[in-house]
């Protein structure tokens, strides 16, 4: 073993010793502060801290959240419940493990310190208070001091050298076993989150289909029926009396106007299902069109988005279009900005303006509409718009499917 590696080993032993003494202290502290630590918040912080130091000791990655972030309110509540119950379980475990694993470390370190003091300074103590080596052997002369003292130091140091690391690792492992999400827990939680968000998405999807069905049924279809009836009557009138031109002409005009209205309505329905410009030019081109079409000068900043699911693209498009319409109509802003960026599994959209602020869900349907669409995809909407401005609307959407 080279000297540097030996020094490395000693530093490691010291670190394990500090860890074990810390565990002992925290075990005692857990007992003393038990009422406070039974509150979910502090107990989770206390547990997180232990998991952090145990993870660091073992070189394990520290993950305070499950792999899939729970974003729905209910899913977050579930996740919090699991974490709280584990944090509460950690309280007795910590007290017990801290004392059982920490006490040997304390005894070992303490007795080394005792020997270090006793060997050179045994004579400074009064006869009845003479320090004891090997637990019960009082030091009464240089002979005992110089033999037993170094022996005790040597023995205990050797013990620490050999024992501290495995004991500390054992403690850290217990800590992680109690506090970490097991694979099963993690999977169960993922399933719970996915089940919820999937149900929400299906609900929203169903509602959207019903809306489209209603629009087509009440609008376009009804108009086509009306047109067909007028044409039928016109044909009949024409065959009955070809000279009744005025009547036939009136019917044809109404039928013609009906087709135009039907086309206009159909266009609106199509636009609300999937914006045509998005199909033509993709998110980048569609947002460019919206930004250049905005009455307020708008700076557009689109990062590297890679592949974005069409449903997410549509929501981003509607969000930006709706938000910029609000900027033009209500904000009196002179400049606006749109920033779209992506981190691993989230797409974030920030729309800002330097207007008068005061935007909220109640004013107009703009923000409520954005919220409805974004929540349907399990995303989040934050509106920061103090009176007097400026306004920032931040939308985050999961897109790691």
């Amino acid at each position: 073993m080279t000297s540097s590696r030996r020094w490395g080993r000693w530093a490691w032993v010291r670190r394990c010793g500090v860890y074990l003494l810390g565990s002992l202290l925290s075990g005692v502290a857990t007992v003393l502060a038990l009422p406070l630590l039974c509150i979910p918040g502090p107990s989770r912080l206390w547990a997180d801290w232990h998991r952090y130091r145990a993870g660091r000791l073992l070189g394990a990655p520290f993950a305070s959240r499950p792999a899939l972030r729970a974003t729905g309110r209910r899913a977050r509540a579930d996740s919090a419940t699991v974490r709280t119950s584990r944090a509460l379980l950690w309280l007795p475990a910590n007290a017990l493990a801290g004392v059982v694993f920490g006490l040997p470390a304390l005894l070992c370190t303490g007795n080394i310190v005792v020997a270090l003091i006793a060997t050179p300074l045994w004579w400074a103590f009064r006869p009845e208070d003479r320090p004891r080596l090997f637990i019960d052997v009082p030091v009464t002369g240089w002979a005992t001091a110089l033999t037993l003292g170094p022996l005790q130091i040597l023995l205990l140091t050797g013990l620490a050298y050999v024992g501290f690391a495995p004991i500390a690792r054992a403690h850290a492992r217990i800590c992680l076993v109690v506090l970490s999400h097991s694979t099963n827990d993690e999977l169960a939680e993922r399933v719970a989150v996915l089940t919820r968000t999937r149900a929400d998405v299906l609900d929203a999807h169903g509602a959207e289909l019903r809306r489209i069905e209603r629009d087509l049924h009440d609008g376009t279809q009804a108009r086509l029926v009306a047109i067909a009836m007028r044409l039928a009557v016109a044909r009949q009138a024409f065959s009955d009396n070809p000279r009744d031109e005025q009547f036939v002409e009136g019917l044809l005009r109404e039928a013609h106007e009906g087709t135009e209205e039907a086309m206009t309505e159909l266009r609106e329905v199509i636009r609300s299902v999937y914006p045509p410009i998005l199909a033509d030019r993709g998110l980048d081109g569609a947002l460019t069109a919206v930004a250049t079409g905005c009455g307020v000068p708008t700076r557009l900043d689109i990062g590297d988005l890679e592949r974005v699911p069409p449903a997410v693209e549509a929501v981003v498009y509607f969000t930006v279009a709706e938000a910029l319409t609000n900027v033009t109509r209500h904000s009196q802003a002179t400049a606006a900005g749109v920033r779209v960026s992506r981190t691993a599994d989230r797409l974030s959209v920030v729309i800002t303006d330097n207007g008068t602020g005061g935007a909220d869900d109640r004013r107009g349907t703009g923000i409520a509409g954005i919220r409805r669409r974004v929540l349907a995809l399990d995303g989040t909407v934050e509106v920061d718009s103090p009176a007097g401005g400026p306004t920032a609307i931040t939308v985050e959407l999961p897109c790691g499917w």
């Binding site: 206009t264 030019r281 069109a289 009455g295």
Partner: protein, 219 residues
């Protein structure tokens, strides 16, 4: 007048052939995609072309790109673009190419035969035919300066931007030529635009003004 059409939907292309044939146009060719359209234009040198925005294979904006390319290859080629929806971005792109008539209309407009044929003739003659919805989008965007106009002046502005001349505006609004002339004078004064002649350049000036979001100063 010879026409080349780029339209992949048979229902629509036969409809257009029927309608244009009755109006006295001669259909030189009907292409089903962008490449076919460009070939047909090279071959037939038509007086005017009609292009659908969405064409095979990807049904995105091939029509716009084909129209722009055809105008690059044949400067001054009149192009009327038809679409199921209007997008002022496309209008801006079409207007950015210089020389020759340009039109951009909703497909719905085809059903108003007279208006559609009139628009096609205007484009063939080097004029402009912008859909009322494009103009509405642009006017809405221009905001404040437009708000200073009276409702009647706004109507005149919209019709002028669509590419109509004084006569047509007077007929549509049922007012005299003189009144139209006065309204136009007021509009240009309020928007700070220099009055140009009543032709295509005037339309372009108004469209450029609207396209710039009403930010442009008078020239």
């Amino acid at each position: 007048m010879r026409v080349v059409i780029a339209e992949d939907n048979v229902l629509l292309s036969t409809g257009l052939e029927l309608l244009l044939g009755r109006a006295g146009f001669q259909i030189a060719a009907v292409a089903e995609d962008a490449a076919g359209f460009l070939t047909a234009v090279r071959e037939h040198r038509p007086d005017v072309t009609i292009v659908d925005v969405r064409l095979p294979p990807s049904f995105r904006d091939e029509g716009i790109r084909a129209a722009l390319q055809a105008r690059r290859e044949h400067p001054g080629l009149p192009v009327l673009v038809l679409s199921q929806y209007v997008e002022q971005q496309y209008a801006a792109e079409l207007l950015s190419t210089t020389g020759g008539g340009v039109g951009y209309l909703l497909k719905d407009r085809v059903s108003r035969v007279d208006g559609f044929v009139d628009a096609l003739r205007r484009v063939a003659a080097g004029g402009t035919a912008m859909d009322a919805e494009v103009i509405a989008q642009l006017v809405q965007r221009a905001g404040d300066p437009i708000a200073a106009l009276t409702p009647r002046e706004r109507e005149v502005l919209a019709l002028m931007a669509q590419g109509h001349d004084n006569n047509a505006i007077a007929t549509q609004l049922v007012i005299t030529d003189n009144a139209v002339h006065k309204h136009i004078g007021n509009i240009f004064a309020k928007l700070g635009l220099a009055v140009t002649d009543s032709g295509h350049r005037r339309v372009l000036a108004v469209l450029a003004y609207l396209n710039a979001g009403g930010q442009m100063s008078g020239r």
